[in-house]
Amino acid sequence: MHTLKRIWACIRQLSGDDAYERYLAHWHIHHAAEGGEPLSRRAFFKAEQERKWNGVRRCC
């Protein structure tokens, strides 16, 4: 069961399914002190896609 959970976590991270959760965790550690609100799930995903596609991402 533990192994299955780890595999599932790995698949989610590989595919980017848990990107928002990871962003929230990062925000609370590094940026919460600066005040403000973290991005909403929708806004985060929007910004993320724009950013990810500004560069070389795929090979032949």
Binding site: S15, W27, R41, E48, R51, R57, C60
Partner: protein, 699 residues
């Protein structure tokens, strides 16, 4: 605290030595078996065993040597991901996750198509080149570039070339990347077009992938933001449904006409699609298509590996064919240098240097992971190339050549084509090809040059035997859809990347054009990029000798040239950091690349044989045009072809020049460095100790 010595693998125990001795003996026997076998057929298990053993030894010993002695990997050093950890670009990530991202980014359609085309020489030359080229060249390139970029805060290859070599190196690298992108997209587009021409099933299935991607894009943005996994699963189900739906369309006499096109028409559609994909927002088409194609790619590669291991099919292609003399029907040119040009991805691919610099280094949590990700990632790609070689060689050679030979070589009518191919000693009949086409749900399989259809036939027969026969047509179109899906992803993404680079360059002249948010600028630069590759694609469909004959070598030369640029940068860095003793590690593959690209480029330019030399071909057509041997309706087309071959010659010249400029610049900087003269200093960032607890807890 860990010390630099931690990166050095422990010395072998007696048991370890015994095990590696057995692996070495097994590998040597398998490679020897493949090389010396001269029978009717050879089992594909030999290839799997040879690849596993060769790669295992290369990884265990050669990559360990490079990590410990040449690069001196330092696990105590904080990586850029740790130092800049911004939660966005720079994120310390688990090594398996980075490996997954890196592999998904480097493995595209290249390693599937190259080996399939190179199978015209027989299975032996391509297989040996993949095994040796990957261990001593491709894996080394990916590994050292990943290392150098990580030590330079994740700088890109172009930036590193500028920093280490000077402005000339930087410009040459940027020009190289730009041109390789254009040629790559054109040739991949041609592969898809040749798979779809006059095939309503393939065309309708591939067309359906566009609305499916858009639907998934909308789902991930509006319905359930960021739910990547469930959206991808939904998309995969729809894609499988589209494969079945294509078969249904093919059976409807009223509908099939809507999806039945000749190659030039399809080329225009792909061009229009490419432009739309480049100017539409990424979330609508590009991003969802990328998710789907990544899942599809990993799934199919794993399924193919499992099927080959279960089935262990016999390879029917001879070890060597008579076409090593340069008369091959798929592309002209002798074994040396053209097998090394044809198989670029899978053995050594310069394009990887773009991923290994810039993207991947920003995710590494410890330098120790680089060996597995850089060296190991490329090894996996070489393994994919070996599987593609197997899938191509399980076909009857006669069938393989019937599918891949362009009509200009074997004739347009089936009876002539099979007679020509049989006369080469590869017997095939019209009935055999008709039955095969019917089984695959196609009207004809003749002259589908490009590798995708023959690979699909090979994969379909392997899949059908391993996972249920009777579904041949479904498996065939699944394989075509799978290849088309990620070729189109490369086409979309490549167009965007080329557009960014063009905007960057033009931005120096007209600042407004450099702004990625100025829409007219986006439209203009996208149109320029699409026109550039669209031109080569369209001309490829008109060429009676099959555009693959001229485009694929151009692509191979440009990709190997990019690898040469990457190795020039790596070699310069080794010299400057006082490791002249180990400079052969990068200088050896670099020398080989310079030899093969220069020879191939020279032959593509000046060979008197029209099927090899661009200039000779243009002159031959010009002579025929002048003597009135060309029918009036073909005159315009012939003039276009003449211009096209001259343009190809100019491009080849450019590649040759760029390679030599870089090599001479490398020699110049190295000499200055060795002689103690002024030279661009090493741009490596200073050592900062890692603070990540993970650094010494794991393993």
């Amino acid at each position: 605290m860990p010390t630099p010595a931690d990166a050095t693998p422990r010395p072998l125990t007696p048991l370890g030595m015994l095990i590696w001795f057995v692996v070495a003996i097994t590998g040597a026997s398998a490679v020897g078996g493949i090389a010396l076998h001269r029978g009717e057929s050879i089992n594909s298990l030999w290839f799997i065993v040879a690849a596993v053993c060769v790669f295992a030894i290369g990884y265990r010993f050669y990559s360990a040597f490079i990590a410990a002695k040449v690069l001196v990997i330092d696990p105590t050093r904080a990586t850029p991901a740790e130092r800049f950890d911004d939660g966005r670009d720079f994120v310390p990530t688990n090594k398996w996750i980075v490996f997954g991202h890196h592999f998904a980014a480097i493995a595209g359609p290249g390693p599937l198509i190259g080996p399939t085309l190179a199978a015209q020489f027989g299975y032996l030359p391509g297989t040996l080149w993949i095994l040796i080229g990957a261990v001593l060249g491709g894996c080394v390139q990916d590994f050292v570039i990943l290392f150098h970029s990580t030590r330079r805060n994740g700088r890109s290859l172009g930036q590193m070339a500028r920093d280490e070599l000077g402005p000339i190196g930087g410009i040459a690298a940027m020009l190289g990347v730009m041109t390789i992108m254009i040629i790559l997209i054109a040739v991949l587009g041609l592969v898809v077009v040749n798979a779809m021409k006059h095939s309503p099933w393939a065309t309708s299935t591939v067309a359906a992938t566009i609305p499916i991607a858009i639907l998934i894009g909308l789902y991930m943005r509006n319905l359930r933001p960021g739910r990547v996994l469930e959206a991808s699963l939904l998309g995969l189900a729809l894609l499988l449904f589209a494969v079945w739906g294509g078969g249904w369309v093919n059976d409807q006499p009223d509908l099939r006409g809507w999806f039945d096109y000749a190659a030039p028409e399809l080329a225009l559609m792909v061009i229009a699609y490419g432009f739309a994909a480049a100017v539409l927002p990424v979330w609508l088409l590009l991003a969802p298509r990328d998710y789907l194609s990544t899942f599809m790619k990993l799934g199919t590669i794993i399924a193919l590996a499992v099927a080959i291991v279960i089935l262990r099919p016999d390879m029917k292609m001879p070890a060597l064919t008579q076409f090593i003399d340069g008369t091959g029907p798929i592309f002209g040119g002798t074994l040396f240098p053209f097998v090394f040009i044809t198989i670029a991805c899978g053995a050594i691919s310069g394009f990887h240097a773009l991923i290994a610099s810039g993207t991947t280094p920003k995710l590494l949590s410890n330098e120790r992971d680089m060996r597995m990700i850089g060296y190991g990632g490329m090894m996996m790609e070489a393994f994919v190339a070996i599987m593609a070689m197997i899938a191509a060689c399980v076909l009857d050679p006669g069938v393989f050549f019937a599918i891949n030979s362009p009509a200009g070589i074997v004739g347009t009518d089936p009876a002539t084509a099979v007679a020509t191919i049989s006369s080469w000693g590869f017997p095939v009949t019209v009935e055999q090809m008709e039955t095969l086409a019917r089984e695959m749900g196609e009207a004809t399989l003749f002259a589908r040059t490009g590798g995708a259809p023959s690979l699909a036939v090979g994969m379909a027969s392997i899949f059908a035997s391993a996972f249920g026969a009777g579904l041949l047509a479904m498996w065939y179109h699944f394989a075509i859809m799978f290849e088309a899906l990620f070729i189109l992803t490369t086409l979309d993404a490549g167009t965007r990347v080329a557009r960014f680079m063009l905007q960057d360059m033009l931005g120096n002249l007209v600042p407004a054009l450099g702004r990625t948010s100025w829409y007219p600028g986006v439209l203009l630069t996208s149109a320029l990029v699409v026109l550039a590759w669209g031109y080569f694609l369209y001309m490829g469909t008109l060429d009676p000798l099959g555009g693959i004959n001229s485009l694929w070598p151009l692509f191979g030369i440009s990709n190997q040239m990019l690898a040469a640029i990457a190795l020039c940068v790596a070699t310069t860095i080794l010299v400057k950091s006082g490791k002249v003793r180990y400079v052969w590690v990068t200088a050896m593959p670099l020398t080989w690349l310079v030899i093969i690209t220069s020879t191939a480029a020279w032959q593509k330019l000046f060979s008197p044989e029209p099927r090899i030399g661009f200039i000779a071909h243009a002159n031959e057509l010009a002579t025929r045009l002048a003597s009135g041997a060309i029918p009036p309706e073909k005159i315009t087309q012939t003039q276009q072809l003449i211009f096209n071959h001259r343009l190809d010659a100019v491009l080849t010249m450019l590649f040759l020049l760029l390679t030599w400029v870089l090599v001479l610049d490398t020699l110049r900087v190295s000499r200055r460095a060795l002689g103690g003269h002024i030279h661009p200093p090493l741009s490596e960032t200073p050592h900062e100790p890692t603070r990540l607890a993970e650094g010494w807890v794991r393993d």
